[in-house]
């Protein structure tokens, strides 16, 4: 238990270090999740709307999920050298599959009667997506985004071995920061992951229209 008290003391003794590494960590995670959203959301929603390409959406997700992140970062280092960009690329590759698959399944499984009714009311494709499919798809869609975000925040620690900065710098450097530093940074990463998940949950609640109760997320939608 004393190790954990030491870890707490480490945070108290090094507020500047913790702050700096936290900002780096969140910047790296934020950029990666942002790019992944830009890539995966339009693709997933578009394919889901057209009810096409399930094979692509699902198998891309399976392949992406199977890729080992350390190996990806290592391969990235061989091509791109050490630094932020290489880790961000690897994190994007990890974040795209859960977002893409969930977005696809969420929009694809929207009640066809609701879509039919919207069309009957004279809505065009964009309106159907924005006003019917997206609100109904929101819970499942957000489940994917939240999964990806938690995964990216946790995996961004691997940046420590690849010069990407962030809290991983402390975790891989036990020689300098000792065990209490490692524990402090590790627990802090977990707290950050939970916090990001909670923040996205809040955002989801804000975005969900009244009268639409969230469904339970699909079992096994967690990343590998």
């Amino acid at each position: 238990m004393s190790v954990f008290l030491d870890a707490l003391r480490f945070v108290g003794d090094n507020p500047d270090l913790m702050w700096e590494k936290t900002v780096e960590h969140l910047a790296l995670s934020g950029v990666s999740i942002g790019i992944a959203l830009l890539v995966a959301l339009p693709l997933g929603i578009g394919l889901g709307h057209l009810h096409r390409g399930s094979w692509i959406a699902i198998s891309l997700a399976n392949v992406g999920r199977a890729l080992p992140s350390l190996a990806l970062i290592a391969i990235g280092i061989a091509f791109l050298g050490i630094g932020f960009a290489n880790v961000a690329v690897a994190l994007v590759v990890l974040a795209v599959p859960p977002i893409l698959t969930n977005a696809y399944v969420a929009v694809d499984e929207v009640d066809p009667d609701a879509v039919e009714a919207a069309r009957g009311m004279g809505m065009g494709a964009t309106q159907v997506i924005a006003r019917v499919e997206l609100p109904l798809a929101l819970p499942l869609l957000f489940a994917g985004v939240r999964t990806a975000a938690v995964y990216v925040v946790a995996t961004a620690t691997l940046a420590g071995i690849a010069g990407g900065g962030g809290l991983g710098d402390i975790i891989v450097n036990q020689a300098s920061y000792r065990l209490e530093g490692v524990i402090a940074a590790a627990l802090w990463v977990s707290v950050l992951a939970f916090a990001v998940d909670a923040a996205l949950g809040l955002l989801q609640r804000v975005l969900t229209p009244h009268g639409l109760r969230p469904r339970r997320p699909v079992a096994g939608s967690l990343p590998g």
């Binding site: 061989a78 071995i161 990463v189 096994g220 590998g224």
Partner: protein, 236 residues
């Protein structure tokens, strides 16, 4: 932690190796037998042990939670907690307790499989429609017989899907294990990163990726083979 000599062997490097080009096939071939093949075998062993033990634990926990609903929240919370600790950190957290050993690595690897395997097994068991369970009871099956003959077969797609996710993620996390002990494909990855020797990084990283994809495909086929009546896509 470093394997082999600290000073790299320079004596018979080809031009490619000396210039550290992206990929040197000659070097990769020379070191297949003494470096990559053993690392690959170790990696498979690490993964099989972790998934086997993890599955045994999760399966029992899921059976317990299926019978006694009150057990689910604590087990789910405990396994979710392990899941959020960064692997790099969990390995180090365990070192003061179990040392720089295979045991440390396996404890960490097993703990990461628990959440997925527990959730999927439990979801699979609960997926049996109430009518089916009712029918089983009506035919005079005891709860135990109903579990073995009805709920478990119906849970198979979800269980195999869970095994698939758990296996590929264990292969991924096992590469990080080499941060502690030079075991598995992570060892050449880490030493390659330290030396910044591209061929070693690429071959070891590529093997890890190939192993993960191969395992994923094999378990997908297994899932289809054991459940000819359904596709496991829903739980994938």
């Amino acid at each position: 932690m470093a394997e082999g000599p600290i000073i790299p062997e320079f004596e018979r490097g080809s031009d490619c190796v000396r210039e550290n080009r992206l990929f040197c096939a000659d070097w990769a071939r020379d070191h297949w037998d003494d470096m990559f093949a053993p690392a690959l075998v170790e990696h498979v062993q690490l993964t099989l042990i972790a998934v086997g033990i993890g599955f045994a634990i999760s399966f029992l926990c899921a059976l317990a939670a299926y019978r006694l609903r009150a057990l689910e929240p604590p087990i789910a919370a405990a396994s979710a907690f392990f899941y959020t600790i960064p692997s790099l950190a969990l390995f180090q957290l365990l070192v003061p307790i179990t040392g720089l050993s295979l045991l440390t690595v396996e404890i960490a690897l097993v703990s990461y499989t628990l959440l997925i395997l527990f959730r999927n097994t439990l979801a699979g068991l609960r997926a049996a429609p109430p009518e089916v369970r009712e029918a089983a009871r009506g035919m005079g099956l005891t709860p135990w017989q109903s579990l073995v003959r009805v709920e478990l077969p119906l849970a198979l797609p979800a269980i195999v899907a869970g095994l698939r996710v758990a296996t590929v993620s264990t292969i991924a996390i096992a590469t990080v294990a080499a941060f502690l002990i030079p075991e598995g494909l992570g060892a050449p990855i880490f030493s390659g990163l330290r030396e910044y020797f591209k061929t070693k990084i690429l071959v070891a990283g590529g093997l890890a990726v190939a192993l993960a994809l191969l395992a994923d495909a094999l378990l997908l086929l297994l899932g289809r083979a054991v459940t000819p009546w359904s596709r496991s896509r829903r739980f994938a």
